[in-house]
């Protein structure tokens, strides 16, 4: 009953290992996952997220076994 949480770029540097597993019980949205994984309630405005490799919004739902990622705006190319 866990959710894998990944952080990338500047957000990864703010987390000790850039990868966490959090207990999925009681978590219903991506925002809940952020709070559980970071211990902070306010998601910075520019932060983007994905679930199972698909872009998502913070209010969208999560379930046991999901891979959730948080990252800043992309700057490739």
């Amino acid at each position: 009953m866990t959710i894998k949480v990944k952080f990338f770029a500047s957000l990864r540097e703010q987390q000790p290992d850039g990868l966490k597993e959090v207990d999925a019980s009681g978590l219903s949205t991506i925002n809940d996952v952020w709070e559980k994984a970071t211990g902070t309630t306010l998601v910075p405005a520019a932060v983007l997220c994905s679930v199972n490799l698909e872009h998502r919004e913070l209010h969208e739902s999560v379930k046991d076994g999901d891979e959730v990622a948080f990252f800043p705006p992309v700057t490739g190319g």
Partner: protein, 144 residues
């Protein structure tokens, strides 16, 4: 369809030739390509190196989706995206997009689309090393 993430420098002309060789002989009437190269300056500062981070699995998937989108919008034969990851130096190619089609208009238009779409959608992040040794994350892409 081709998506390639390279940890080492690549040669755009070699990649285009290799890509064209996978297509049916005589089918291609036009090949359009774009190469993005690392600058030695950004926002008024000298830049000596850059690290390109990506999200393994998601980045490749997104690039494949970008090519699929191009194929659905233009009458093209196939497309290629090559993108560097890891450590990169000024003057080295960062990205190559190439499109083969029967006629030039579709190749030009789809090639531009690939670049703009990957810059806005694909999960890459640049971290610059400045001449004084400081590092900083690039926070947004240039408009064009």
């Amino acid at each position: 369809m081709g998506v390639l993430l390279c940890e080492q420098p690549f040669e755009p002309a070699v990649e285009i030739t290799r890509f064209e060789a996978t297509l049916a002989t005589g089918s291609v009437g036009a090949t359009a390509s774009f190469v993005g190269t690392m600058r030695n300056h950004n926002e008024g500062d000298s830049v000596t190196a850059m690290t390109l981070e990506h999200y393994p699995g998601m980045t490749e998937k997104q690039l494949e989706e970008v090519i699929s989108d191009a194929k659905s919008q233009w009458d093209i034969i196939d497309a290629l995206i090559v993108h560097r990851v890891g450590e990169i130096l000024p003057g080295q190619p960062i990205v190559l997009t190439a499109v083969c089609s029967a006629h030039r208009a579709a190749a030009f238009d789809a090639c531009r689309f690939l670049m703009e779409a990957l810059k806005s959608r694909a999960t890459f992040w640049k971290k610059e090393t400045l001449a004084n040794g400081d590092t900083r994350w690039v926070e947004k892409n240039t408009p064009g």
